[in-house]
């Protein structure tokens, strides 16, 4: 039996006003997220990869309510999150916490570590200072900090330690889902390894789910059970990490994977002309969003593309491998 998703996103669209005319009326829109469906099951990690500006951060910010939804739904534990109010809203919100890329700017420089870690609990209220401090110590130790560091200020810590503080803080409300938006991109590889190991350990111990955004494809492959590849606000391919990375079906995913610098090959065998940039998202293309960069385009690509199941076998039933490209209609 398939577990009920902790998070499901249904047909989510986010638009921002792009430009306004003299009268303040919106004349163009930024199509940041376009009809995204995804779900995260308890205890699993879903990775989102895609190039800068493709809508990854907007997507997760819409999920936790930092950005308004234009249409679609976000369900947390089966409850409509955007529509929820009062204590339900608060309870649902606390099931999800977000950790940002830059540990420098996401922590108030004037607060000591223990206050930073327990700030979400403090905001929630109802906990005396002594209890907050005790909880801070527990959390600090669980992320590999020492209790004698609790009174220090964030600037006394290295980038990796600051990210540990940010993770401890995110864990303070006992969330079930951590949204990790490029959590290690600002860190050195040896420190990245420590943080990734910490996140994997926390997941084993606490059964956490992760929604993990990264542009580092090899890291996503290492860390995630399933992945969604985004392009121009759309999911263009999804499936188990293994299926998508070992046997990419969408031409964009293939280009993306071919661009990943690897220690194995020292020559880039990517056609540089394919490694262009995202088209303007003010006016979405009529057909396949990837068409102007796609080396495999054929007649039929000028039509809108749906996510099609690439193959559906045994263990993959729960998470079919799908690609948004008509060249992958199963025979």
């Amino acid at each position: 039996m398939k577990a009920a998703p902790l998070l499901s996103v249904e047909n989510l669209t986010v638009r921002f006003p792009g430009a306004t005319n003299w009268y303040g009326r919106v004349t163009s829109q930024v199509h940041a997220v376009n009809n995204v469906d995804l779900c995260v099951l308890p205890g699993e990690s879903l990775g989102i990869v895609g190039e800068s500006g493709c809508g990854k951060s907007t997507l997760v910010q819409a999920v936790i309510g930092l950005v308004g939804l234009t249409s679609g739904r976000v369900l947390v534990d089966g409850h409509d999150f955007a529509g929820a109010n009062g204590t339900l809203k608060r309870d649902l919100r606390q099931k999800m916490q977000i950790v940002f890329q830059d540990p420098q700017s996401s922590l108030d420089p004037r607060l000591p570590v223990w206050r930073l870690i327990t700030e979400p609990l403090h905001i929630r209220g109802g906990m005396p200072t002594a209890a907050l401090r005790a909880r801070a110590e527990e959390l600090a130790i669980s992320v590999g900090l020492r209790s004698d560091q609790l009174d220090r200020l964030p600037h006394e810590f290295s980038g990796g330690q600051r990210q540990r503080i940010a993770i401890a803080r995110a864990l303070s409300t006992d969330p079930e889902l951590l949204i990790l938006d490029e959590p290690t991109s600002a860190l050195d590889v040896s420190v990245q390894a420590q943080i990734i190991n910490l996140l994997l350990k926390l997941q084993r111990e606490l059964g956490l789910s992760y929604l993990f955004i990264s542009h580092d494809v090899s890291l996503v492959r290492h860390f995630c059970d399933r992945v969604a590849v985004m392009y121009l606000g759309q999911i263009v391919e999804t499936g188990t990490a293994e299926a998508v990375f070992d046997d990419p079906a969408h031409p964009y995913t293939r280009t993306l994977l071919a661009s990943v610098p690897s220690l194995k090959n020292s020559l880039l065998d990517v056609d540089a002309s394919l490694t262009g940039e995202l088209p303007n998202n003010r006016r979405l293309p009529a057909g396949c969003y990837y068409r102007e960069r796609c080396g495999s385009a054929v007649p039929g690509c000028e039509l809108p593309q749906a996510l099609l199941t690439v193959r559906k076998a045994g263990a993959e039933k729960a998470s079919p491998h799908q690609a948004r490209c008509h060249l992958h209609i199963p025979a």
Partner: protein, 339 residues
């Protein structure tokens, strides 16, 4: 080296350079005996974790460090045979524009936000070449096209904020190449960019450098990125070069324990969900580095000899390593790291 290299000086030669930043808390020993040689038309990578001295090495060479705030305590620098420390401001401007160009990580800071791209390119070109406005514009459009920038004529009219980060970085690379410098210093030029754009930019830098015989110092904290385009690598740790050699040799037969650890931290060589190898501890405080080998507090192979600073051992095949464990073994076989 050979007589040949005596006639044609290295594009960049940093010899046993030690450099400190005096601060109220003491001297930050940013570089300690760094030697880096960049031959003509050679693409050399400088790799190491943040703060290890990659930028300081090259900024010292181009005199971009804040004047009066640092002290060179030993060693020398030559840019095409000339000593940048002995140059006056006018010479420096000449050298920076004509001989050496630097590409930095954050493309926004390097462009004037209020001036159109085309105008900025044209003024850089005209500063170094006696061209009329029209001719310089034609050169600019060509260089933009060379950088695979679509619709270069339109981009000439754009302001920096209208371009994506990847596009701005291409403009800066175009600008760096625009006066045909002999040496390009690319300091983490792709760190802020997507892999697809990064792949394109690495190709552009490599292709253009090879075509024009430009030397490149490519700085990155990402060993996989530098390995894509560099002929040789220098691995830095805490202000020292710990290993150097031809790219393939360093990747396939890393000799220094730090280089090995750096390679094993990467998820590429580990089974999914398995813990990644991480390096215990942290980099030393450059105000008060430990005696002997700076890697000793974190090194699994350390022994009593390591209380003294290891000297560099040259290995066959052009590799060199500063580690006591390798001092007596000039031809250590391939490491446990599979290639």
């Amino acid at each position: 080296m050979t007589a040949h290299s005596v006639q044609r000086p290295h594009a960049l030669s940093i010899e046993n350079l030690s450099l400190e930043f005096p601060t109220y808390a003491g001297a930050i020993k940013a570089l300690d005996g760094v030697t880096i040689k960049v031959g003509n038309a050679e693409i050399v990578g400088l790799v190491g974790e943040s703060g290890c001295g990659k930028s300081v090495s090259t900024m010292a060479a181009t005199r971009l460090l804040p004047e009066g705030r640092y002290k060179i305590t030993q060693g020398s620098i030559r840019l095409f045979g000339r000593d940048p420390m002995a140059m006056d401001e006018e010479e420096l401007q000449q050298v920076r524009g004509k001989l050496v160009s630097t590409i930095f990580q954050e493309p926004m800071n390097a462009l004037n936000p209020t001036i159109r791209i085309g105008q900025q390119l044209v003024s850089v070109i005209r500063r170094h070449e006696a061209l009329g406005r029209k001719a310089a514009e034609a050169v600019a459009v060509n260089i933009l096209a060379d950088m695979l920038i679509p619709e270069p004529a339109r981009i000439m009219q754009a302001y920096p904020f209208e371009l994506s980060g990847g596009m701005r970085q291409r403009v800066l690379i175009a600008m760096a190449f625009s006066c045909n410098p002999g040496l390009i210093i690319a300091d983490e030029p792709t760190t802020a960019l997507d892999v697809t754009v990064q792949a394109a930019i690495l190709r552009l830098i490599q292709g253009r450098a090879r075509r024009t015989g430009t030397s490149v110092v490519f700085i990155s904290h990402n060993i996989a990125v530098v390995s894509q385009i560099c002929d040789r690598l220098y691995i830095m740790y805490a202000g020292r070069i710990v290993e150097s050699g031809p790219t393939r040799a360093v990747l396939d037969r890393p000799q220094h324990p730090y280089t090995r650890a750096l390679l094993r931290c990467l998820p590429e060589r580990v089974r999914p969900k398995e813990p990644l190898e991480s390096i215990p501890g942290t980099v030393p405080n450059l105000l008060d580095p430990p005696p002997g080998c700076f890697y000793r507090p974190r090194c699994p192979e350390a022994d009593t000899r390591c209380m003294e600073k290891p000297h560099e051992t040259a290995l066959p095949g052009g590799q060199a390593v500063s580690c006591w464990q390798r001092a007596g073994h000039p031809s250590l076989p391939s490491s446990e790291v599979p290639s």
